[in-house]
């Protein structure tokens, strides 16, 4: 436990964060690639074919992990935003800003694959079911965070306002989610659910779980890589960045 606390404090300082996370990057990327290929292979070729949905069910091996990630990343972003606001941590600001586009892409991916899946299932590209509508609103929340950051000339001020936007979004997310769910139950006869009520066998579930771990590693890789670049940019006048630039020049 003490080591974890120590690591947390070390990661709060931009130079140490930069140094330590540099070592993690290749492992995260390697793990992500291996798990995601394995998960996809398992889902596409090994898992049994759903008797109702047939081949179209296979898109769920992208759709489900993407939808999980879209929510997971918003949660991570909200927590980073809270830390950025309360403790004014530059690293938390960088993580927040770096998370937004990754999360938005996963959300978009979930929406697109959902739409592709919906066509054979519902006969239409878009159906206003509760999950898809919540996901769409989640995309708007991501866009809000990114647009706020970009609107400010001063990146630090932009990051702090964006942090507040992310926290406000996180607090509101349950309310939005439940009101949308309530709305969908009163407004329409329940459409064919994407997931049947039957018990999902382990052989089908396995692909999702492998993908879930793989995409989390990918998120870790992507967010750290972006956050490191953001820190280099915001801290460009400090000694530690100058030193890194010198080292890089010597290598080149």
């Amino acid at each position: 436990m003490n080591r974890l606390v120590k690591l947390y404090h070390q990661l709060g300082s931009p130079p140490t964060f930069y140094r330590i996370t540099g070592k993690w990057l290749p492992w995260l990327l390697g793990g992500a690639l291996v798990l995601m290929f394995w998960g996809l292979y398992d889902g596409l070729f090994v898992a049994p074919i759903d008797y109702q949905q047939r081949e179209s069910f296979k898109i769920s091996y992208i759709h489900v992990p993407a939808a999980w990630m879209s929510m997971f990343i918003y949660l991570a972003m909200g927590i980073a935003g809270f830390m950025a606001l309360v403790w004014r941590m530059k690293v938390a600001e960088a993580i927040l800003i770096a998370s937004a586009p990754v999360g938005a892409i996963f959300t978009l991916l979930a929406l697109l694959t959902g739409s592709l899946w919906g066509k054979p299932m519902w006969g239409t590209w878009w159906d206003w079911d509760a999950r898809m509508t919540s996901e769409l609103i989640l995309l708007f929340l991501y866009i809000g965070v990114m647009a706020t950051y970009n609107a400010y000339d001063d990146p630090r001020k932009g990051a702090r306002v964006a942090a507040l936007v992310a926290v406000i979004g996180l607090v509101n997310l349950p309310i939005i989610h439940f009101s949308v769910q309530w709305w969908s139950t009163i407004h329409q006869a329940s459409t064919v659910s994407l997931f049947g009520k039957q018990h999902i066998p382990w052989s089908m579930l396995r692909g999702w779980l492998i993908m879930a771990v793989g995409t989390k590693l990918y998120y870790g890789y992507s967010v750290l890589k972006r956050a490191r670049l953001l820190l280099l940019e915001t801290e460009k006048n400090t000694a530690w960045v100058q030193k890194i630039i010198e080292q890089e020049c010597r290598h080149a």
Binding site: G144, T148, A151, Y152, K157, R160, L164, V165, V167, I186
Partner: protein, 235 residues
């Protein structure tokens, strides 16, 4: 002798200050008028487009009336949100209440209250005209008024938070819309649903309670979020 220093220690009058803030904004609003009539004119213009686009069939219009009334109220109040704090920021009067011993969240509440008096209340009072134009059954008018009375203050509150988040941006209008719209989705859902239920002859108390809950929730959290946004923007 001109006294420039306090003659006796004065007790802080929070109510005086907050009342002054509301009174000042309302007086300016009444004098400039545009903040009051622009949302109403906008509503009237847009509501005219529906029969033109859909055909004037009373049944068709009545079917979409609950949604149209609420979407229009939402869009019309969006027009005015930008000004809540930005004008004060531009002319420097914001500093008077930011540098005040009265807590900033309280001032935010006063500002949102003034905004509601100038836009939310007129929109609510004007809604029967929109409803009549959309052929909403008269039996639903009562529910409509109550739902707007409960929903428009939430719009003013969340809107003041959006305005505070974009206070120092020159062109923050679109960003404000992006930030505020998703947060107002629940208000729209319950508001429109309340009217719809009462057109069907069902009680709408559940929806109205949900609107009340949203209002209480915004009343407690929004002032602090907006105050934080103002302070970050002034840094």
């Amino acid at each position: 002798m001109i006294h420039l220093m306090p003659q006796k220690p004065e007790k802080l009058k929070t109510t005086v200050m907050l009342a002054a803030l509301i009174q000042r904004d309302v007086l300016i609003g009444l004098r400039q008028k545009s903040q009051i009539y622009q949302p109403l004119v906008f509503q009237l213009l847009v509501v005219t487009m529906f029969p033109l686009g859909l055909g004037a069939g009373a049944k068709t219009l009545a079917a979409i009336a609950p949604a149209v009334i609420w979407v229009l109220a939402l869009l019309a109040s969006l027009l005015t949100l930008d000004h809540i704090f930005k004008v004060d920021h531009e002319d420097g009067s914001l500093e008077t209440y930011v540098l005040s011993p009265v807590p900033l969240p309280a001032s935010v509440l006063a500002k949102a209250g003034a905004h509601w008096l100038l836009t939310g209340l007129p929109l609510t009072l004007f809604s029967p005209i929109i409803a009549a134009l959309m052929h909403l059954p008269e039996s639903a008018f009562g529910t409509m008024l109550i739902s707007l009375l409960l929903g428009t203050p939430t719009m003013s509150l969340i809107g003041s938070m959006g305005s505070a988040l974009t206070i120092s941006l020159k062109h923050g209008g679109l960003l404000l819309t992006v930030l505020v719209m998703p947060l107002l989705a629940p208000v729209l859902i319950f508001g429109a649903s309340a009217i719809l239920e009462s057109t069907l002859g069902n009680p709408a108390s559940g929806q109205l309670l949900a609107l009340t809950a949203l209002l209480v929730f915004s009343l407690t959290l929004v002032p602090f979020a907006a105050a934080t946004a103002i302070r970050i923007n002034l840094e």
